[in-house]
């Protein structure tokens, strides 16, 4: 008797052994298509995003907020929507915004942040050195994060351009306790160091915008009281944009996000159909009799 494998298999064999390049091509088309021609699908807002939003909404004028960019350029593509929406919320509340960078690649990100905030900063009359500062790459390792928490001016003396920070609004910041909030845009770079050396000893509030794989860890930190809120991935950024009524790249990408997820689910279903229809019956089971 010939097995199903020997008989050929047809469509079921195709589904069971689908070429990965077909998966790549379909994914590519489904992601690029909606970006070129947006569809405008509705989205829902998760409770975590509401909690994150409420944590930033409590800021007031003259609060000093640290925007920590603990991400490479690669992570910035996933986190930029949420980061820009968070920074926009800070500026709308007239709090002081300080940008600090935790990865060499992220030194190119602050100009993008300022470019995106140009409109709202002009509307609020923000001036560099009076209302905002870019400190550049000052968190290369954990000891730097710890040193900045204990004695900020002992570590940071100039901004990214080399100008002294003496005489700016940072004069009143001595330790981590003097910061109202840290918005941690993070792909896993120094997020634990901020919790260990800013949150635990000084009680500095932290909200974290993290990539998808870190969401469950961040939920545990929110539940343990180490984070005030967490925002997950590009979807979280889009939800925050939706909440503050400032559509941006996050909302634009949600069509592609949705279609990519659905295509993945369809491939999983088709693969299982192929598995049960072709691969599993094709296994020839040999009995061995031992006396």
């Amino acid at each position: 008797m010939t097995s199903a494998r020997e008989q050929g298999g047809g469509i079921l064999k195709f589904l069971a052994t689908i070429d990965r390049r077909i998966v790549y091509f379909v994914l590519f088309v489904l992601v690029v298509g909606p970006l070129i021609s947006p569809i405008g699908m509705p989205i829902s807002v998760a409770p975590d995003t509401v909690q994150y939003h409420n944590a930033i909404a409590q800021l007031g004028p003259d609060d000093v907020v640290l925007l920590h960019l603990g991400t490479e350029f690669s992570g910035w593509n996933e986190l930029s929507a949420g980061a820009m929406a968070s920074a926009k919320m800070v500026v709308e509340r007239e709090a002081k915004l300080v940008i600090i960078v935790g990865h060499p690649e992220a030194t190119g990100i602050p100009p993008l942040v300022y470019e995106g905030l140009k409109g709202v900063m002009e509307a609020k009359g923000y001036k560099y050195r009076e209302d905002t500062l870019n400190l550049g790459y000052m968190f290369p390792n954990e000891p730097a994060v710890a040193a900045a928490a204990a004695d900020f001016h002992g570590l940071v003396r100039t901004d990214y351009l080399g100008n002294s920070i003496e005489g700016t609004f940072l004069n009143k910041v001595k330790t981590a306790a003097d910061w109202a909030l840290i918005i941690d845009i993070n792909t896993g770079i120094w997020n634990q160091a901020l919790i260990n050396h800013w949150r635990l000893p000084f009680g500095t509030k932290i909200v974290a915008h993290i990539i998808g794989v870190m969401v469950s860890g961040a939920k545990a930190n929110v539940d343990a009281g180490l984070y005030e809120g967490s925002l997950g991935s590009l979807r979280g950024g889009a939800e925050l944009e939706y909440m503050i009524k400032a559509p941006g790249p996050g909302l634009q990408a949600m069509d592609a996000f949705t279609l990519a997820h659905y295509s993945l689910l369809i491939f999983i279903v088709l693969g299982n159909i192929g598995y049960f229809g072709y691969t599993r019956p094709a296994r020839v089971k040999e009995r061995t009799a031992v006396k």
Partner: protein
């Protein structure tokens, strides 16, 4: 003089002293020690920054080896070293100047982005080929993953709100619990490793051979 650096017990003692100078002031309020501790932490951050600069040496050594042996694709090693020195030259010219800006946004930004994006393709094809309901455990994994993935697509929550409580139940309980225990396990492991290093049982980081 070299005995000072070559004796394992002296170097492990230095590690221990450095440890105590940072550890003790955290729990006991001794002002002078506290201030010195902060300076020691800043010194440690400077030392770590120097080791980043050592990356040049590591890369150069590998590249020169490839070129010397005329290994496969040796010209790419020459090209890579040229890129390295070009970037350092642009850094000297100035990080706010055009050449630096050009390399950041024409080379590093796109390539860093693509590096990460390619993962999405690999993960998608791996999911499509590996997620099979071969057993009851695999079926449970598949079903849970299916529901959470469905919820992650924003449209689903908007048109079918009933999925939100189910998906959130999985992420806020099971996923969070396992993440929590993983964090606790890693914390215990890192503390155990730290104690072993302080006791001189793990000395490879100082360049000494492994304890037998």
């Amino acid at each position: 003089m070299s005995v000072f650096f070559k004796r394992k017990d002296i170097q492990v003692t230095i590690v221990g002293i450095s440890f105590l100078l940072v550890f003790i002031p955290y729990f006991f309020d001794i002002p002078v020690l506290g201030a010195f501790s902060v300076k020691l932490i800043t010194i440690a951050s400077l030392i770590n920054a120097f080791t980043l600069a050592l990356a040049v040496y590591a890369l150069m050594r590998r590249a020169l080896n490839t070129v010397r042996k005329k290994g496969r694709g040796w010209w790419w090693a020459v090209y890579m070293v040229a890129c390295l020195f070009l970037m350092m030259l642009f850094g000297v010219i100035g990080e706010t100047q055009a050449p630096w800006h050009w390399v950041m946004f024409a080379i590093i930004n796109p390539l860093s982005s693509v590096n990460y994006t390619i993962l999405a393709f690999y993960v998608s094809s791996a999911c499509a080929r590996a997620f099979r309901a071969r057993s009851i455990h695999a079926f449970l994994l598949l079903a849970t993953g299916f529901i959470v993935l469905l919820y992650q697509a924003p449209l689903t929550g908007a048109v079918f709100p009933g999925i939100s409580p189910v998906a959130l139940y999985f992420t806020d309980t099971f996923a969070m619990s396992f993440s929590r225990t993983t964090t606790m396990g890693l914390t215990v492991a890192s503390i155990v490793l730290g104690v072993r290093m302080l006791l001189g049982r793990e000395v490879q980081f100082l360049g000494f051979p492994r304890e037998k």
